[in-house]
Structure formats: structure tokens, C-alpha cells
């Protein structure tokens, strides 16, 4: 079971309260988790990564185990603690910097 924490705006858009828990078959990579998340909540398609290129939107960040995974390859397995559900994958809106 993979735990995903979404930012406020995406929780309200998708009607989600609290964390999302997902079952991911095969290697637990960023791509696999995002695929599973969008399959569960199709309205999130295009909000985290581009519809067609699947590139991360520039002001979205991925944090896991206090590390920034935003620029990691999508097919690299996430940390073991995320894979077993001890730690969540955080999907975060980047700081506005105001």
C-alpha cells in the first residue's frame, strides 16, 4: 500500500479527504504511483504532469523521506519506506516565493 499526500487544491478538486492509499503492481516508481493515482482520480490528469508529454508541471514538487524527488527519473524505485507505506509520497505545490 502506497500513501500519497496531495496539496489542498488537488484534494478539493478530486474530492479527497486526507491521504490517498494506492495499490501499485510491480516496481514502485514515481511513474507507477502517478499512473495509479490518476487512474483512481482521473480529474487529476494534467494537473501534476502534462497530459501528453507526462512531464512534471514546473511548479509541482515530489518529496519522499525528506528528499526532493522532483528531478529524479520517473522509472527509479521510490525509497523503501515509501514502498512499504511507512512514509508517504508528498506531492507539493512549489513555494510561491512571495
Amino acid at each position: 500500500m502506497i500513501r500519497v499526500v496531495l496539496p489542498f487544491h488537488l484534494r478539493t478538486l478530486a474530492g479527497i479527504a486526507g491521504e490517498v492509499t494506492l495499490e501499485v503492481a510491480g516496481p514502485v516508481t514515481l511513474k507507477a504511483v502517478l499512473d495509479a493515482l490518476e487512474a483512481r482520480h482521473p480529474v487529476l490528469r494534467g494537473t501534476i504532469r502534462d497530459h501528453d508529454t507526462l512531464k512534471r508541471r514546473s511548479l509541482v514538487r515530489f518529496f519522499a523521506c525528506q528528499e526532493d524527488w522532483s528531478n529524479q527519473p520517473l522509472d527509479v524505485p521510490l525509497p523503501e519506506a515509501v514502498q512499504r507505506g511507512a512514509e508517504p509520497l508528498l506531492i507539493v505545490g512549489a513555494m510561491a516565493g512571495g
Binding site: T12, A39, H51
Partner: protein, 387 residues
């Protein structure tokens, strides 16, 4: 008695303001889509309870929302867990705006060519006759159409072929922000684009022609009378006389009597001919409204006095409308989509400000009251008359 519904888009959500036909007492509902930027909401003329909304965020992109019950409930029409795309992913088409064919390029700030990149929907224009049909004006400038109630959107790419390689974004971006429909011919549309100009199609969007003859941009363009590149802020028409269009340009208020073939200036005695919105009285095609703004670098009313100016003769001769509007220390702006009229008699006129006020007049502009004072910055106002 008829009811009035105002659809208000703001920097941090949407609000719905309702009143009876007297337009004195208003109820405020919202924020809807709290925290998201709502550039525009507009109801279908053919079914006023069908409302389209553009919800967007610099972080999370573009969402199209639709209500079929006058704004009580909303959904993203193209989202379906049942439908699957060929690769097995669920369908979520309503927030997908893909340019057709070769993406192409437009002029960039440094003079080089730059690929078109979709950023957001600025304006939604539902069809006059079919609630399933609507147009979307987007940044980077293009027009899209839906024929299935917002589930899917398809570009009308001919617009970008109207010298799109010469369009260059201004500081506010490069967007199709105004879409007008000719009630006589469904195939005729007008659009306006910041820093590109006005354009017309007579074949339902297959081909477009720039309609900027007569515009002069002395300080914005090296060739002040260029075919494209003019910073048109908004255009408006009266449905009874759709060959007459009025334009608020970056500077200058303009008018055409032949569907854009030739424009002439009608700024007349305005204290400033810079501004953003322009609108036409619902029952008097020669009565028009603008809100003068001091200058392109000082986006607030001259002398700190918020004044709507009205011409009852189609321009050139303008009178200030001040009764009920702040006449000192007012330094708000009124954005291009933030003015609207209703079709009651007398005609109602409404506008919103970047300071969060929405003002209304139930007597064609003679007197004004603040319907609400402390919303987020207002991006758009649309008035609907309900039975």
C-alpha cells in the same frame, strides 16, 4: 418577476450574486473553487442554467468546470472513470487543450520565433443557440471549440495562420480574450487578442482575417498601422446591429460600422482613452460604456475618481457617471472581462474591480451601488436574466 444572476470570476474563486428584478438586495454565494483563479464563467444563452467555468492555477494548470443547475453543483465534464484511452488510462479530456497539427511558432520577446505553449483559458463563450457548443479563448492565443458540452475541446487552427508568426506577447501575455458571435450568421465570429489585434472568420473558424485597418499604435509598434500586432483590450457589439463593433484598445476607443473592415477613433472627450472593458447598452445600440484608466503604466482611474463614461451617440461625446462611485482615493483597475449588462428595462450595468468591489446600476448607469465590496480581485463579471 425576473431574477438576475451575476457570475463573478476572481483571483481566488468564483462568486454568484443573485437578486430579483429590482436589483436592490443581493445574495452572495461563494467562493466556489476556493483558492483557484477563475478567469471567466459564462452561462449558455440557450440554457441559462448551463454554465461553463475556467478554473486554473499557476501550479496545477487548467480545469474546465460545468454546471447544469445554475451553479449549485459542478463537474468536470470530460472526466470519466469508465472511459479508457487506448493506453488504458482513464479519460480526462475537458482540461486538455492541444494545438492542432504542427504547433508552430510566434514572435518571442527577443524577436526570435517561439513555440506556442498552452497556458490557460481566459474566456468562455457559449453558443447563442446550442448549450453543448462553446468556444474557449486561450493563452497562448488560440480559439478552441467544444460540441459536446465541454468534454472535449478542438482547436480552430486557422486563427493562428492569420499572421500568427508575427504575434508577440505583451507584458500581460498573449491570449484570445474576447469572442463575439454574429447572431445573423453562426459562421461569423470575431475575436480579439492582446498584442495581436482583432480577427474575423466568416466560415465558422476555418479561415480568419485580421481586421485592424484604422488602428494606430504609435508608441507600441514600429509601424503604427501594421496589419497585426495592435493591443486590443476588448471589443463589443449589440446583437441587433452586429456589423457595428466598439473597441477599447490599449490606447484609443474605436468603432467600426462594417464588421471591422475600417475602424475610426471615437475617444472624443474622455479624460483618458486607455482602459480595458467596453460594453453596449442592452436596448440602445448607440449607448456604450467604458472605464477610463490613467495610463498603461498607471492602471487606476484618473485623479483617483472611479468614473464610468457613457456615450449615447456611439462615441466621441462622453459623460461621466459618478453617482455612487468613489470620487476620491480610488486606485483600482477594472479588467477587460469585468463589465456586463443585463437585458431588463431599465438596463442593468455591472462591473468588478481589482479591489474586490462589484458595482451595479439598475438604471443604465445613472446611479451605482456596491453590491459587494471585499472580494478577491475581480477578473470577470457576467450578468444573466432568469425567468
Amino acid at each position: 418577476m425576473s431574477k438576475i444572476r451575476l457570475l463573478v470570476g476572481t483571483k481566488k474563486g468564483a462568486f454568484v450574486l443573485t437578486s430579483d428584478g429590482a436589483r436592490k438586495d443581493w445574495q452572495v454565494t461563494g467562493p466556489l473553487f476556493a483558492g483557484w483563479e477563475i478567469y471567466h464563467l459564462k452561462g449558455s444563452p440557450a440554457d441559462p442554467d448551463r454554465i461553463y467555468a475556467s478554473q486554473s492555477s499557476g501550479w496545477f494548470g487548467q480545469i474546465i468546470q460545468r454546471s447544469d443547475d445554475g451553479g449549485k453543483t459542478w463537474s468536470t465534464p470530460g472526466t470519466s472513470e469508465a472511459g479508457k484511452e487506448p493506453e488504458g488510462m482513464p479519460v480526462s479530456e475537458s482540461n486538455r487543450f492541444a494545438y492542432v497539427g504542427e504547433v508552430g511558432t510566434h514572435k518571442w520577446y527577443d524577436g526570435t520565433q517561439h513555440p506556442w505553449e498552452f497556458k490557460r483559458v481566459w474566456h468562455l463563450e457559449p453558443s447563442l443557440t446550442d448549450p453543448e457548443v462553446a468556444y474557449a479563448g486561450v493563452e497562448d492565443a488560440a480559439i478552441f471549440k467544444t460540441a459536446d458540452g465541454g468534454k472535449t475541446w478542438t482547436e480552430l487552427p486557422g486563427l493562428r495562420q492569420a499572421r500568427g508568426d508575427l504575434w508577440q506577447p505583451g507584458a500581460g501575455g498573449m491570449a484570445v480574450h474576447t469572442i463575439l458571435q454574429d447572431p445573423r450568421y453562426a459562421a461569423r465570429l470575431f475575436v480579439a487578442i492582446s498584442a495581436a489585434g482583432a480577427f474575423r472568420t466568416d466560415d465558422a473558424g476555418a479561415t480568419w482575417k485580421p481586421i485592424n485597418r484604422g488602428l494606430k499604435s504609435n508608441f507600441e509598434l514600429p509601424d503604427p498601422t501594421a496589419a497585426v500586432g495592435h493591443c486590443v483590450h476588448r471589443i463589443a457589439l449589440h446583437p441587433s446591429r452586429p456589423d457595428v463593433l466598439f473597441m477599447q484598445k490599449h490606447w484609443d476607443v474605436m468603432r467600426t460600422d462594417d464588421a471591422g473592415e475600417e475602424w475610426r477613433e471615437v475617444s472624443g472627450n474622455l479624460p483618458s482613452d486607455f482602459g480595458f472593458p467596453i460594453d453596449v447598452h442592452a436596448h440602445e445600440p448607440e449607448t456604450i460604456f467604458v472605464v477610463p484608466i490613467k495610463s498603461d503604466s498607471e492602471h487606476y482611474p484618473p485623479e483617483g475618481k472611479l468614473r464610468v463614461y457613457r456615450s449615447k451617440v456611439g462615441g466621441n461625446e462622453w459623460e461621466p457617471l459618478t453617482n455612487g462611485l468613489p470620487q476620491s482615493n480610488c486606485f483600482v483597475n477594472v479588467l477587460r472581462d469585468a463589465m456586463s449588462v443585463d437585458s431588463l428595462d431599465p438596463c442593468g450595468v455591472y462591473f468588478g474591480t481589482t479591489g474586490g468591489q462589484v458595482y451595479g446600476s439598475a438604471d443604465g448607469g445613472d446611479t451605482w451601488t456596491a453590491i459587494v465590496r471585499d472580494l478577491p480581485a475581480v477578473y470577470s463579471v457576467e450578468a444573466q436574466v432568469l425567468p
